[in-house]
């Protein structure tokens, strides 16, 4: 029976090629636009570390003056002073913890005539790699003792290793960073979490390539490397020594396993702040301990424009569906004579309904295939855009399947009204009219 409906549907679609083409085209454009924007939205709002994000937490405290503070409403600052970051680090209350700031590293290649270049760098502490599951191609990270001893060492990204050492195992070799020689202890495999959650609010971009150079915070500071972003909350006598200045420039991440550990850490954080208030360092008691995804939500990391585009695409798809309903309806009402004959020859209402839904489904599938093509074109266009995330915009298998689901659902919804109109048509008058 289904094969028969299929044949009928194809025959009817062929009879009116222009109308069919218009329907398929409109549906495909709507689906193409929707899938393109949804792919980008999904890409940008994705989980950067799916295996670990539920265990990573971002503590926040507030060293600002009392002025303007409303208890329970004012959110704590997004970054920390050196003193507080170090106190939290040295408390060792989490399974892992690390502090970090972004900087720019001038790298001087060894080759003759080579020009120096700047690379994105992270100044951090020993647990960074283990906590964030950063995978090593060669070697490994450094230890807490290296942190304290300002060890002259560095971890580099795979792409920097390719550029400087043609991809060879460079562990133990030297690299010239900011006019000082540092020993390479580890080379990372390609690692670029999207979004770059750990860099959020530290003065860097949110998406794109990963960082190239990772070095111990104390080592970097001894080399006078400065953070990308400094926020000061009181008069600063000496901007050079940001370790003692009333300025915030570090992010702190903690790995906590289990609800008990999280609750314990929150209590510890509240206690720490109360202690600082008692010492007269702090005036505000607000603290926050968001998990990774919660932190990204609070930061509204997904650009407004991307969400607007997705909304716009859905509005557009709605227009296309309404359009398809209209055209399908026009087609089916035109065929009232044919429906009358089929009904008179014994076809039930259900059969007529099914027949028209099959026709709508075919339009939907064709729209889906063409829509997929439009989506690929749309993503190609996005990859040529200047946005940070441009190069990441690709259609994956799930979105591929989703395209057909959207296409079928859209066309079937569009088909319900015409099919229902067709099946409630009384056969006798139609036969007479014909």
């Amino acid at each position: 029976m289904f094969a028969y409906y299929l044949e009928l549907a194809l025959r009817s679609l062929k009879r009116n090629r222009v109308l069919t083409a218009l329907m398929v085209m409109a549906l495909a454009l709507g689906i193409g636009a929707t899938i393109t924007t949804l792919t980008v939205l999904r890409l940008l709002s994705g989980d950067p570390l799916p295996q670990k994000s539920a265990r990573l937490f971002y503590p926040q405290i507030d060293p600002n003056a009392k002025e303007g503070y409303i208890e329970g409403q004012t959110k704590p600052d997004s970054i920390m002073t050196y003193v507080d970051a170090m106190n939290l680090l040295q408390a060792h209350r989490g399974t892992h913890q690390a502090v970090m700031a972004l900087t720019q590293a001038k790298v001087m290649p060894k080759q003759a005539n080579a020009r120096p270049f700047f690379s994105d760098a992270v100044m951090t502490t020993a647990d960074f790699f283990a906590m964030f599951d950063a995978p090593f191609q060669y070697g490994g990270g450094w230890t807490a003792a290296d942190d304290d001893g300002r060890a002259q060492l560095v971890v580099i990204a795979g792409f920097l290793n390719d550029k400087l050492f043609a991809g060879a195992n460079s562990v133990g070799r030297m690299i010239r960073v900011n006019d000082q020689d540092l020993r390479i202890v580890g080379v990372l495999k390609p690692w670029a979490p999207q979004p770059r959650f750990y860099a959020q609010d530290l003065g860097g971009r949110s998406y794109g390539d990963g960082d190239a150079v990772f070095l111990p915070l104390q080592t970097a500071r001894a080399m006078e490397m400065g953070p990308q972003d400094i926020e000061c909350y009181a008069a600063v006598p000496d901007i050079k020594h940001i370790e003692t200045a009333p300025c915030e420039w570090l992010g702190v991440w903690v790995e906590l396993n289990g609800n008990e550990a999280v609750a314990g850490y929150k209590t510890f954080l509240d206690g720490y702040v109360k202690q600082q208030v008692a010492l007269g360092r702090f005036q505000r008691t607000e603290t926050s301990l968001l998990d990774l995804m919660g932190w990204l939500r609070q930061e509204q990391v997904v650009p407004d424009d991307v969400r607007l585009q997705a909304g716009l695409a859905f509005g557009f798809l709605l227009i296309c569906v309404v359009n398809t309903v209209g055209l399908l309806l026009a087609k089916c009402l035109r065929r009232s004579g044919e429906i009358g004959v089929r009904r008179a020859l014994g076809a039930t209402r259900r059969e007529i309904f099914t027949q028209f839904m099959v026709e709508a489904g075919i339009v939907g599938l064709a729209g889906g295939v063409l829509g997929l093509l439009f989506a690929e074109l749309g993503l190609l266009g996005i990859r040529h855009q200047p946005a940070q995330y441009a190069s990441l915009a690709h259609l994956d298998f799930e979105m591929f399947l989703f395209t057909f689901v959207v296409a079928l659902v859209a066309s079937l919804i569009a088909g319900i009204l015409p099919a229902w109109r067709a099946c409630v048509l009384a056969p006798a008058p139609q036969l007479k009219a014909a």
């Binding site: 218009l22 001038k106 909350y233 008069a235 424009d305 557009f316 296309c320 026009a330 200047p386």
Partner: protein, 409 residues
Amino acid sequence: MEIRPIFASLRKHRIPALLIVLEIALACAVLCNAVFMISQRVNDIRLPSAIDEQGLVAVTLRGTDDKLVGSDIPRNLAALRGIAGVQQAAVTSSLPLSTNNWGWSFGVNADSVIANQKNINVSLYFIGENGDKALGLHVLHGRFFNADELADSKFDTAPLPETHAVVMTRAAAENFWPGQSALGKTIYSKPYYYTVVGVVEDVLRPNVSTTNTRKSYDAVYFPMSAAGSKGALSYYILRGAPQDRDRIMREAEQKLAELNPGAVAKGQIYVDIREKYFADMSSMAWMLVLVCVVMLAVTAFGIVGLTSFWVGQRRRQIGIRRAVGATRRHIMQYFQTENLLLTTAGVVIGMGLAFGINVYLMQHYEMSRMPWYYLPGGALALWLLGQASVFGPAQKAASVPPVVATRSV
């Protein structure tokens, strides 16, 4: 034109008529909001900035030795002035729209400290000798820095320079002292204080706020000596004729790289800096344009499709009307009026929907209120679209010969 028969026939085709109305309403709602978003972005992209953007070239030189900049900067500038076509060369700490922002907040009272809530946040530009001429700044009141102010200003350990003279934009002056002259007045951030010696025409900050353009111009210029700059003066700016700028940029980059082998020189023409800053915004604007065009096309196709269907269905009635004396013109007018009625119903709903979407966007996104004239504008666009798309099918209807009426039933 008699309208009643149109209503009578529409009542018989309620669902297709409703679909056209719905489609036009949705199209009108999306169109108004999308065009409003496009116009907002175009306004942002075109934010004026009173520097010579067309002739300006910037080369950043980073990774220099802070101890040697006192002699390096004059040497580099002398070499840059030797490039053919360079009219002025100077150093500064940042440029409008470069995203390289150094912010600070000042108050107008002697006891203002940095954390004061009433302070005004401004972007700081540090600038060396001839910087005003190289940028093409327009001094409106007072003067730019004199040689002494430039030579004496330096960084020590403090985050702000040891000088007491500043020049600010007209917008910043107006924000600090509304309705008053800023000349001779002082801004404070304890323990620092600076007196305004000049006011320049508005120059954009390194980052601009797209929601509040009033704040996009709050910039303050500080004098800075080469020797005391501690690496802050990393932008070399060169001014020349617009047709020379690409060549000047390449030669300047090369020259600075040769003179400073340990540092990284990167040249850009200023128009590219602006373009890059607004690149995301302009691609969003183009995407909105694309969506609008395709959406209008789909709507037009929908109208064409449904009207053609109606024409096909009513061939006999049209034939009868023609046989009893209606002219082709009458038939055309019938379909055109019918479309006008449907479109009008659509845009009335659509304008309400457009307003609703705008209110929603204002609550959830950085969006301002849509000016009222977008609504009739969108309505007019859809009326025209409706009339244009009904023209073909209506003509087809008008060409139905009266003889159709006589054909067998």
